[in-house]
Symmetry: C2
Subunit: 341 residues, 2 copies
C-alpha cells in the first residue's frame, strides 16, 4: 500500500487534500548526489543499464526534494536500441545514432519481438526501486511517444527543424505509418512490462510534437498515442505533447487520464477544452527556478491561481535545466506541499 | 516606379489582383547559382559584407523563381557586430560569439553611435540592388527583433532552451530592459538607413519569440517591437514572431502592417484576432516542398482556402530548408502567380 498516493488520486480525478508535485528530470544533474555517481561511470548508458544505480538515482529526489512521486531513471531511446538501433550519448551534445532508418528494408529489420527481454535491466531497476521505495510514493514509468522516437530514428540525433523526419511524413506517408505502428507495438509491450514490474502510473513524452501542426499531428501523432492509451488499462496514463497547443482538441479525445502542459501553453484554453474530464499537469517555466525565492513564489502563486478548479498535478512545463540550484527546486516543491502560495 | 507593387499594396490592405508571394530564405542554398558563388568565397561573412555579391544573390530568386519581392541578402547578426560583438559563422553549426554579454559593464560597452557607418556595406548593397532591380519588384529590408538579438548576445550561439537568456529576464529584469533598449535604438537607426538606401518595406524577425510565454513576451518582446513599428513611418512593416501564438492578441496591437505566421499557427485564430486590420503573411510548412507536386498543390490550396477573405501575403511558415529542390519552390510560386489552386 502507498503511504502517499496523491498523484494517483489526482490523475484519476479523485479528491485530494492538495495538488501533488513532482518535477520532470528531478533525477539528474541538478543534484550533487547524482553528479557524484555519474562521475564515477564510463558514461550515461552505464547508469541507465545498471539496475542498482538506477534505483539509487531514482530515489535521490524523493529523499532530497521531497517530491510526491519517483520517476524511474532511464531514457526514451532505450526503445529504438531494443528494436535494433544502437545509440550513443555524446557528452554536451545529446544522443547520436550511427545507423538511421531510411528505407522500407531498414524498417523491416527493426525487431518488436524480444524487446522486453532486451530491456530486462529496466524491469530489474523498477523491481529494486519499488522495494526500496517501500510504498513511500508512487513510481512513474515512461516511454517516448511514437512520433518522437520516429524522429530520432530518421534524423539520428536532435535537430532544430526535424526536416528529415517531416520529409518522410510528407513523401512516404504509408512507410511512416508502418514505422510508427512498429514503434507503437514495441512501446506498448515495454510499458506493460514496466507496469508488471511495479510502475504505478506511466507518462508518454512527445518531446517533438510541437514541430508538427494540427493536420500532421492528427495523422501521425494522435492515433498512436490513442493506441497506447487504450492498451494501458491497469494504471493511469499521462500524455505530454510538448508544444502541441494546436492539437488541444485532439489531445482531449485521448483515453488517457492526464495531459501535460508546457509553460507557454494557455492554461485557460486547455481548461476550457478538457472541461475537468482530465487532469492537467504542469506548467511552471523551468527558467523561473533561476530567479530568487520571491519571484518563484509569485510565479507559482500565479500558476496555481490559473489552474484553480481544475484537476491538477503540479510540475514544470519542461524538464528542469541542469544548471538549476537544487535548493530552488526544493523551495518550489515545499511551496506546493505547504500550500504556501 | 515599381512595375510590380503587389507586395506593398497587399501590406497596406489595398486592392490586389492576386496575393503576392515570396519565400523566406529564397536567396540562399536552395539555388545552385548561390552555391556556386558561395563556394568561391572564404566564408559566409565575405558574402554578407561585399555589396556586389549581396546584389547578385539577392536578385537570383527574382530571376530564377519569379517571386514578387527581393529581400536583401544579409544576416540579423550584423547588428550585434556593429554594436561591438563580433560573431563567426561556423559551417553546419551556425553563429558563434567569442564574447557575450554577462554584466552591466558589458552592456555599457555596446555602441549605438556609429552603427550605420559600420553597416555601410548593407547600405551599398541596397543601393546597388535597387539600381539592378530597376523597379521590377519591391526590395525588402530586415532586422532581427530585439529579443532575438538579445538572446544571441547572452547565449553566444543558438540554443535549444535559451535558458541563459531567459534566466537574465527573470533574474535581472532592469538590466534586460537596458540591453533591449540599446538594441532597439541601434535597430531603428539601421532600418532607417535601409529605407533611405531604398528598402520598400521592412521585416522584423523574432525567431526565438516562441520560447517565451505571453507574460514574458508582453514585458520583453512586444514593447520593443512596438517602439520599432512606431519609428518606421516611411514604409510598411512586417513583424514575424515565430511560435508566439500565445501572444496573438498582443501582436495585433502593434502599429505594424503585416504579421507573419509560422506553419503551426492556426490561421483561423489569427484571422479572428486581427479582423482584417492587418495583412497576414505565411504560412505553408516548408517541409511540404519536399513532397511531390500533387501534395504541394493540395496543401497550397488548403492554405489559400483558409486565408480566404483575409489580407494576405503568401509565404512559407519558416525559411525554406537548404536541401529543398528549387524547382519545387518555383512550382509553389507559380501556383500562386497563376491562381492555379
Amino acid at each position: 500500500m502507498l503511504q502517499n498516493n496523491l498523484l494517483l488520486r489526482a490523475a484519476k480525478g479523485e479528491h485530494v487534500e492538495r495538488a501533488p508535485v513532482w518535477v520532470m528530470r528531478q533525477a539528474g544533474r541538478i543534484l550533487p548526489e547524482y553528479r557524484a555517481i555519474r562521475e564515477k561511470l564510463s558514461g550515461f548508458k552505464e547508469l541507465v543499464t545498471t539496475p542498482e544505480l538506477v534505483c539509487e538515482v531514482t530515489l535521490q529526489p524523493v529523499d532530497i526534494l521531497g517530491v510526491d512521486a519517483a520517476i524511474i531513471f532511464s531514457d526514451i531511446l532505450v526503445i529504438p536500441e531494443a528494436m535494433g538501433l544502437d545509440y550513443e550519448m555524446i557528452e554536451k551534445k545529446g544522443p547520436w545514432f550511427p545507423k538511421t532508418i531510411q528505407t522500407a528494408a531498414d524498417i523491416d529489420l527493426l525487431q518488436t519481438d524480444g524487446v522486453t527481454e532486451r530491456l530486462d535491466y529496466v524491469k530489474k531497476g523498477i523491481t529494486i526501486t519499488k522495494a526500496e521505495l517501500n510504498g513511500r510514493v508512487p513510481l512513474i514509468g515512461f516511454a517516448g511517444a511514437p512520433w518522437t522516437i520516429f524522429s530520432y530514428m530518421i534524423e539520428g540525433s536532435g535537430s532544430k527543424t526535424f526536416s528529415k523526419a517531416k520529409k518522410m511524413l510528407y513523401t512516404q506517408p504509408e512507410l511512416s505509418h508502418r514505422l510508427l505502428s512498429k514503434i507503437t507495438a514495441a512501446t506498448i509491450q515495454y510499458l506493460h512490462m514496466q507496469i508488471e514490474a511495479g510502475a504505478d502510473i506511466v507518462q508518454i513524452f512527445d518531446s517533438w510534437a510541437g514541430i508538427l501542426d494540427q493536420d500532421l499531428y492528427a495523422q501521425f501523432g494522435i492515433p498512436y498515442l490513442q493506441r497506447i492509451s487504450q492498451a494501458i488499462k491497469q494504471v493511469p496514463t499521462i500524455v505530454f505533447a510538448k508544444g502541441a497547443y494546436f492539437s488541444m482538441e485532439d489531445l482531449a479525445t485521448l483515453d488517457c487520464d492526464v495531459l501535460g502542459l508546457d509553460w507557454a501553453t494557455s492554461i485557460e484554453d486547455f481548461k476550457a477544452v478538457v472541461k475537468n474530464d482530465k487532469t492537467l499537469q504542469g506548467n511552471l517555466d523551468p527558467c523561473v527556478l533561476y530567479a530568487d525565492e520571491s519571484v518563484i513564489k509569485k510565479k507559482t502563486a500565479e500558476m496555481m491561481k490559473r489552474f484553480e478548479g481544475q484537476r491538477h498535478i503540479v510540475n514544470l512545463g519542461h524538464g528542469v535545466y541542469p544548471d538549476t540550484d537544487w535548493r530552488k527546486v526544493k523551495y518550489f516543491v515545499d511551496l506546493i506541499k505547504e500550500n504556501n502560495f
